[in-house]
């Protein structure tokens, strides 16, 4: 027995209490929650055994236990570099962004009107990247540097294949001075697309047959050299050139954009984002205007709202997988919005002068170390550098021993010792570094060197940056903590997060991200660990990974887990590559057809294409079920080449298909593997499992089911779980050994990619325990069916099972309201009108156009569900007034939604409905009115007039003063 005066975490995580539960069951018309589950989940796949997991911790007990695990990590001073550098997160940013639910709980800004705050911040990020790289346009972040490099390669491949004659071999050149983890990710991504990598000294690589080239600047060893000759040569040979780089170095060095690079990419981590043992961090990607429509991932742009005011939105969404499916520019769905915002805030807070001062200090510190070490008789090999020295002439074993005593990590590679200096390096650190080498040479301690920020730079004059950057007022205004705190708060107040109201996004599982799960992420014992630190320094992390992997194995019923994939889409790619590697080893390497139901999420076909597979679409019936006969026919037709079926369960339509085992059986009979998309795992945990339906591999969106927050558009995590026969193929890593015995190449830059946020899912599992997690599933289903019961007389629910039950989400049909002579009312009108009631819209037009998909999750109380239902019911009456002609066909509350405070309080009011009806349509809205900061945004205007950096200065005043 646990005696806990605080109440169990379960009662804090799950919204409804027992009295509310009973009322909801009565409304649904079912006797008990057990009976509801019996009517929802097919009996053939139910697991009756309770999950075999450790007993639930109390919140207080969990934090105490976790601090003892944290103590098993050794936070050494890491001068390893390789794209990861310790840095100082400004406290004002740490407290007000990183640790603030107003920033970490919102969703991806698809509903732009209620996302203006973080859209402005992401635009700041794009401007930061564009300015420092010297390029035309930057995107709103990618998963990590390795995958950003792979995206550059595939973008060049697409652009160049239009020009290249068919049948010509595709060759991509990679400098051997790129980071090893980047090269490994490229290997994994190139092979399935039939791209051959040529890796070597960039000046010697044969350019005749290649379509592109990747360079690193400063390079893997820290050396910095003029790229103009090689880029010129590559362009003359018809190649496109990408340069992996470092934003901090580019404050001092000539940026690759001024050396004619076509893409510049890298990791923005050292702009104030903690190391986190590998992540999450925001990778950046900048390119030329001419490639913008081929660029991967999200791009924030400007547009205007219905009242002609400037507004931000996500631009060019048609490039993305939810529209283009297997033709998408990338399978990326999740970005790294929270971390991009932190990097942007770091730049806003420090400004161009502050960043340059930080970079100069880093550079000067490296110079001081060089001076001291060469004074000891050692050689420093980098003729020009920013922050990284390569020391030769020391005895590596002796240095290791002396460094270990002082908890210092260097990089030992290629017969030299690498030392990468960062923002946190102090005079004392420098003295300790020098002492390590002095001791290794058997000499006495030497006097500490002096850091002189005015010393001539170790950069040739031709590489010293002359051009200005970050000249926009936003980077030159908020430099006191008071101003910074208010700027952050001003942006935050424009957005709807889970700290304001429920976010009923179907397929996104916007559940509670509990404070006790979040707090440890910023503990230094977890946040300051370098991903390539010696494994023995990470005993605490290792324990958490092992326990988390074991728990995820129990929950899925599968044999092994890889925690590496950085997002659901990357999990899909990793899973398919694992299947491919297994089939090759079985002599079945010719299998390349993936069956995907018409109802699948767009990432499925996009990932299959990335894995070199051919997509064959399986039909779905009017009820959203996969058509068994069509699956049989297609499996038969592709009998010899069938690789896998990708299936979401419960389906994207929110239904547990009764014949799932039969569907899976058909694929297995034809020699295929079954990939289960775990997007809807929140309806399974503890009640059924991927193994119970017969899946061989699945990914788990930890940012949905396992409580990692959505971060306003990332980070996410998408580990995969596999059956025993696939375990040997789980992804490896070039630097730190992980994965199976026959590992496929790494899919992410870091061995456990965004390691620090695995703590959140670990906390979720440890504090809920088997009973709590199973109850979470039951209440997710209860909440969804309660919403259905309350709303079904008002809206048509598209799909439910034979007992009339939905799983954890459901689709409401809005298409009937478009009928008639006038414009009617469409799903966008309802989505925007919900903002006037203070709610984020449900998922719009997925998986069926003209509908809304609602997923309440277990965390919402009955009171909040009732408010949401009241809003939707009131909106239904507003729709009816339009359809009946009682309201104006175009000048009505729906078409004009959302209504801003400026509009409602203006002296002039010309609409045929009242101001009160516009802004306070129901009594509960008065309690905490959310004011949309902009009116409805003009999407076509934004895509036709693409502007993706901070708006011109003269408009800036108007922007910052918008309430």
């Amino acid at each position: 027995m646990t005696f806990d005066t605080q109440g169990s975490f379960q009662t804090r995580h799950i919204g409804p209490d027992t009295a509310e539960r009973d009322e909801m069951l009565r409304a649904i018309g079912v006797a008990s929650i057990g009976a509801l589950i019996d009517q929802t989940i097919p009996p053939g796949i139910r697991s009756d055994e309770p999950l075999d997991l450790p007993e639930a911790d109390s919140e207080h007990g969990y934090l105490r236990r976790l601090s003892s695990i944290a103590a098993r990590n050794t936070v050494a001073r890491s001068y390893i570099g390789m794209g990861y550098y310790d840095c100082v997160t400004p406290s004002v940013v740490l407290r007000n962004v990183f640790e603030n639910p107003g920033w970490y709980t919102p969703y991806t800004p698809y509903q732009a009107e209620i996302s203006q705050g973080r859209l402005e911040s992401l635009l700041n990020f794009q401007t930061l990247v564009k300015d420092l790289t010297g390029m035309d346009i930057a995107t709103a972040s990618l998963l990590d540097e390795g995958t950003a490099a792979a995206e550059a390669m595939t973008m060049f491949h697409r652009v160049q294949s239009r020009k290249a004659p068919a049948g010509q071999e595709s060759v991509f050149l990679v400098s051997d001075r790129c980071f090893p983890q980047t090269i490994e990710v490229l290997r994994g991504r190139a092979e399935p697309l039939g791209i051959r990598l040529e890796i070597g000294d960039a000046t010697d690589l044969p350019m005749a047959d290649a379509f592109g080239l990747l360079l690193q600047y400063p390079d893997d060893r820290g050396a910095i050299s003029d790229l103009r000759p090689i880029i010129e040569k590559a362009h003359a040979a018809g190649l496109l050139v990408a340069v992996a780089s470092d934003l901090m170095a580019l404050t001092l060095a000539v940026p690759p954009g001024e050396m004619w690079a076509d893409v510049v990419l890298g990791n923005s981590q050292r702009c104030g984002v903690p190391l986190g043992y590998g992540g999450p961090h925001a990778a950046f990607f900048a390119t030329r205007d001419s490639f913008v429509r081929q660029a991967p991932g999200r791009i924030i742009g400007l547009s205007v709202d219905a009242r002609g005011r400037r507004a931000y939105r996500m631009a060019l969404q048609t490039r993305e997988q939810h529209i283009r499916r297997e033709k998408a520019t990338s399978n990326i769905c999740t970005a790294q919005a929270l971390l991009a915002n932190i990097a942007a805030m770091y730049a806003v807070f420090h400004g161009p002068k502050g960043l340059k001062a930080i970079a100069t200090r880093i550079h000067s510190t490296a110079q001081a170390v060089e001076q001291a070490l060469t004074g000891l008789g050692l050689r420093q090999l980098n003729a020009a550098y920013f922050d990284t020295l390569r020391i030769e002439g020391a005895d590596a074993a002796a240095v290791r021993a002396a460094a270990a005593v002082r908890a210092i990590n260097f990089r030992y590679a290629d017969g030299a010792i690498g030392i990468a200096i960062d923002e946190t390096t102090t005079e004392q650190d420098v003295a300790d570094i020098v002492d390590v080498f002095a001791e290794s040479l058997g000499g006495a301690p030497v006097p500490p060197p002096v850091i002189d920020t005015h010393a001539p730079k170790k950069l040739p004059p031709s590489l010293v940056r002359q051009s200005a950057y970050l000249t926009h007022p936003v980077f030159n205004t908020h430099h006191s903590e008071t101003q910074m705190m208010r700027y952050i708060r001003t942006l935050q107040s424009k957005d709807i997060g889970l700290d304001s109201s429920m976010i009923p996004l179907g397929s996104c599982t916007m559940k509670l991200n509990a404070a006790s799960e979040m707090i440890p992420v910023s503990w230094p014992a977890f946040s300051r660990m370098h991903p390539f630190a010696p494994p023995e320094q990470a005993e605490g992390y290792r324990q958490i990974f092992a326990e988390l992997e074991a728990a995820l194995c129990h929950i899925t019923g599968l044999a092994a887990v890889s925690l590496q994939p950085n997002s659901g889409a990357q999990g899909e790619f990793a899973g398919l590559m694992t299947i491919r590697a297994y089939q090759r080893d079985q002599g079945e390497g010719h299998r390349d057809v993936v069956l995907i139901p018409a109802s699948a999420h767009g990432t499925n076909p996009a990932s299959a294409t990335m894995a070199g597979m051919k997509v064959v679409v399986v039909a779905c019936d009017s009820n959203g079920y996969i058509v068994l006969d069509d699956l049989r026919a297609k499996a038969q037709a592709h009998h010899a080449s069938l690789s896998a079926l990708m299936v979401t369960y419960p389906s994207t339509y929110g239904v547990f298909e009764e014949d799932i085992r039969e569907l899976v059986g058909v694929v297995h009979e034809h020699g295929g593997q079954v990939y289960m998309d775990g997007a809807n795992m929140n309806a399974q945990v503890g009640l059924t499992s991927p193994a119970a339906i017969g899946a061989d591999v699945c990914h788990l969106n930890l940012h949905k089911t396992f409580a990692i927050p959505h971060g306003g558009g990332g980070p996410g995590m998408g580990p995969i779980a596999v059956a025993a026969h696939l375990a040997p193929y789980l992804p490896g890593h070039a630097v730190i050994p992980v994965g199976g015995g026959h590992a496929i190449p790494a899919v992410a830059a870091a061995p456990w990619s965004s390691a620090s946020i695995l703590l959140i899912s670990y906390g979720y599992i440890r504090m809920l325990g088997a009973d709590g997690m199973t109850n979470a599933t039951r209440y997710a289903i209860l909440n969804a069916n309660y919403l259905k019961a309350r709303l079904q007389g008002h809206y048509d629910v598209l799909y439910s099972n034979r007992n009339g039950r939905v799983a954890h989400e459901m689709i409401f049909d809005l298409r009937p309201f478009k009928r008639g002579a006038g414009p009617g009312v469409d799903e966008q009108d309802v989505a925007k009108r919900l903002m006037d009631y203070g709610f984020h819209a449900p998922t719009v037009s997925f998986p069926v156009a003209g509908t809304m998909m609602i997923e309440p999750t277990e965390s919402e109380s009955k009171a909040e569900l009732d408010r949401f239902c009241d809003a939707l019911i009131a909106i239904r009456a507003e729709i009816q007034a339009v359809l009946d002609g009682a309201a104006h066909p175009t000048d009505n509350v729906l078409k004009n939604a959302p209504h801003t405070a400026e509009e409602v309080s203006a002296d002039e009011w010309t609409h045929p409905y009242s101001r009160q009806q516009a802004a306070y349509p129901l009594p509960f809205v008065r309690g905490a009115k959310y004011w949309p900061p902009v009116a409805r945004i003009d999407n076509p205007h934004g895509d036709r007039n693409l502007i993706c950096a901070c708006p011109p200065t003269e408009d800036y005043e108007a922007l910052v003063t918008t309430p």
């Binding site: 429509r293 048609t318 529209i323 283009r324 076509p940 895509d943 036709r944």
Partner: protein, 123 residues
């Protein structure tokens, strides 16, 4: 409502044939399905396409779609003005030609639909 001097394809392109030359655009039905057009990508003059080949891409706020050549031929002209003002496709679809082609095989034109057949197809 579909002009009788044009021919049509089941992919919702129209073609205006004038002897051995032709202009190609998309139909009113197609622009309605796409919604607000924001971007148009067209090939260079001199490129040749077989019947059914993709000759370009059209993008709206909510969808993106390939453009298919109704006949085999060589591109003789590209409507650069339309590329800068693609929204014209929404207001005047049948007046918004995208490319001009020199037709390679007159025999293929007999497969095209007339206005009445196309109207039936879109009902």
């Amino acid at each position: 409502m579909y002009p009788s001097d044009l021919n049509y394809t089941p992919n919702h392109e129209w073609i205006r044939i004038n002897g051995g030359d032709a202009q190609v655009g998309i139909t009113d039905y197609a622009q309605k399905q796409l919604g607000d057009v924001v971007y148009l990508e067209l090939p260079d003059v001199g490129r040749s396409f077989k019947k059914g080949d993709v000759f370009g891409t059209i993008e709206s706020v909510k969808a993106v779609s390939e453009l298919y050549s109704p006949v085999t031929g060589v591109v003789t002209e590209v409507n650069a003005g339309l590329v800068t003002k693609p929204e014209k496709i929404n207001t005047d679809p049948h007046g918004s030609w995208m490319i001009a082609l020199r037709i390679a095989d007159q025999g293929e034109t007999s497969d095209l639909l007339d206005a009445a057949q196309y109207t039936d197809l879109t009902k």
